[in-house]
């Protein structure tokens, strides 16, 4: 009986963890069909590695106070925005923001990653180099819906 309960518990845990992961189209399968940038705009990628650590923490990501997507393990999304100054933030226990400037035709990469919090987990946002970001993006799944500049 005890073994059966343990099996069910293990299956339930795996199901919950799997449900929290991104499951959309992989970057490598959609990269060639992504729209090119419009004049005066740059592109901002948000991505999160597929680690199970802190997988339950999936906050909304805001860009200059507009919600642009959700930080999900193994997921990425991007938005195109006019060249200018931006602040990206995650809505968790403590707000850690990343401020940066975006030039015309520039591509910026922002990594979101879970971290320990006082009460619950939080997600921090960091600027990442193109080299490191591209190495990880290939295996990540698209989780975005909003791509057009507001």
């Amino acid at each position: 009986m005890r073994r059966t309960v343990l099996k069910f518990a293990a299956i339930a845990a795996i199901t919950i963890l799997a449900a929290g992961c991104a499951s959309g189209v992989k970057y490598q399968d959609m990269a060639s069909s992504m729209p090119s940038l419009k004049g005066g705009e740059g592109r901002i990628y948000f991505f999160r590695s597929a680690s199970m650590f802190g997988a339950a923490v999936q906050p909304e990501i805001r860009l200059n106070n507009d919600v642009v997507g959700t930080s999900k393990p193994g997921g990425f999304f991007y938005v195109d925005r006019p060249a200018g100054n931006y602040v990206a933030a995650s809505s968790t226990e403590t707000e850690k923001t990343a401020s940066f400037t975006l030039a015309e035709n520039e591509v910026k990469y922002l990594r979101t990653s879970p971290s320990f919090g006082l009460l619950v987990g939080r997600v921090v946002i960091e600027l990442e180099s193109a080299e490191k970001a591209k190495a990880e993006l290939g295996s990540l799944s698209y989780t975005g819906t909003v791509t057009a500049a507001k």
Binding site: T94, K96, T97, R122, V124
Partner: protein, 133 residues
């Protein structure tokens, strides 16, 4: 309170502060950048060796060897250099994209382009030999 209890309380407070993400904010002041004409701009920086930096906030950063930085203007604290093909940021309570401010062959601090502010290092850090032509 006994000394042991006092130590335990200090450790708990430090732990709570760490868990709460209570790093100090990056200190900065507003600045105006004078944009350099490319024809008259000073030579680019090319780091011949990595340059480790310890920030006032407790975070550390490394300017990588072989990184290339172009002059984009001037603030009163020195010349401002933007990285080419890499991204550089400084961190405290928040993360800020940062460009280098150099004077007298030493890194004086950082220009924060998104905020148009200047954040000083506690002491200038000499650039590795050969970084400036």
């Amino acid at each position: 309170m006994s000394r042991t209890r006092c130590h335990a309380a200090c450790v708990l407070v430090a732990l709570a502060a760490t868990l709460a993400g209570c790093a100090p904010a990056v200190r900065s002041v507003p600045v105006q950048i004078g944009v350099a004409e490319r024809a008259n701009s000073p030579p680019d920086l090319h780091f011949t060796a990595p340059l480790p930096l310890r920030l006032e906030t407790g975070y550390s950063r490394l300017i990588p060897a072989e990184s290339h930085w172009v002059s984009v203007g001037r603030v009163s604290e020195g010349l401002v250099y933007r990285p080419v093909d890499i991204v550089f940021s400084i961190e405290g309570q928040q993360v800020h994209e940062a460009w280098l401010v150099v004077r007298n062959s030493a890194l004086q601090g950082f220009y924060l382009p998104a905020e148009a502010r200047y954040s000083s290092l506690t002491a200038p850090v000499p650039l590795p030999k050969g970084t400036q032509p």
